[in-house]
């Protein structure tokens, strides 16, 4: 069977829910960040697939992907700055230990 739009949608759905599962089960901030990267990538794959198979003469999906990649880079940089700062104050990046604001 020739792979088409539905195959790519299957991959991106699977990748999205792999990322959600990782986000729900991991308790280390860096691995949670990795799960978010997986989710963002699955969304990018969706945009590109729809652009190719549904509106090949337009380029809107492509531009959304470019902007999402830029925002993901900014988000990862800020998140890692926060994680390093948290590690410096807490000696741990486990979310269960980051409870200063809780009480």
């Amino acid at each position: 069977m020739e792979p088409g739009l539905y195959h790519i949608l299957f991959i991106s759905t699977a990748l999205f829910f792999i990322g959600v599962f990782g986000f729900l089960t991991r308790r280390n901030l860096i691995t949670m960040l990795m799960s978010i990267e997986l989710i963002l990538n699955s969304v990018n794959l969706n945009f590109i697939a729809f652009n190719k198979y549904v509106w090949p003469e337009k380029m809107d999906g492509l531009f959304f992907t470019i902007f999402i990649i830029a925002i993901a880079a900014a988000e990862a940089a800020v998140a890692i700055a926060i994680i390093i700062n948290l590690y410096r104050n807490n000696q741990s990046i486990d979310v269960n230990n980051a409870e200063e604001l809780k009480y």
């Binding site: 792999i18 089960t25 990795m34 492509l62 830029a70 700055a81």
Partner: protein, 172 residues
């Protein structure tokens, strides 16, 4: 009939999904980062397969060359060597797996039912067209989002420096 195009697709899909699963399943955080790297490379391969070469190049440069290296550096800065991640409680894993499975099944069923208006025109995406549209200020051009993204990147850069700056101990 399996031709090379089809086989390549299934290989890339298998690489992406298996490395994605390993990346959230392994308990060594460094291995998780390396599996994430291969997942991102697999997705770049899928972009090549879809003949969007520019996006594939951007994916490799930004994700593989930038974000994964950043993540690996932060792992070096914050983890003790050889330390495994803490094991999660079984019931949390079970409930998460149940929720994820239900969401996955629901999404796949919806996708399978919906008839997308597929088009057979070949995609003609050249870097020249991307650049012209990116800088175009006509209707449908992307000059304003481009400028906003550049402001966002500047703000993120300054914000990172401020957050990660080691504050001096206060003199009392």
């Amino acid at each position: 009939m399996m031709n090379g195009y089809t086989i390549l697709f299934y290989l890339l899909a298998a690489l992406t999904l298996s490395c994605g699963i390993m990346s959230i399943a392994t308990r060594h955080i460094f291995r998780a980062a390396i599996y994430l790297l291969f997942t991102l490379i697999g997705i770049a391969g899928l972009y090549f397969w879809l003949s969007y070469e520019f996006i594939a190049a951007v994916q490799i440069v930004v994700y593989v060359g930038g974000i994964v290296v950043l993540i690996i550096f932060s792992i070096f800065l914050t983890q003790q060597a050889g330390e495994k991640l803490t094991k999660q409680k079984l019931d949390r894993k079970l409930w998460s797996a149940l929720a994820v499975f239900c969401g996955f099944a629901l999404t796949i069923l919806q996708i399978a039912q919906y008839q997308f208006p597929l088009s057979n025109n070949p995609a003609t995406v050249t870097v020249r067209r991307i650049g012209e549209k990116m800088m175009s200020m006509d209707a449908g051009g992307y000059a304003l989002p481009f400028e906003i993204i550049s402001m966002l990147l500047l703000a993120a850069m300054v914000g990172c420096i401020v957050i990660a700056l080691r504050s001096k101990p206060e003199v009392k």
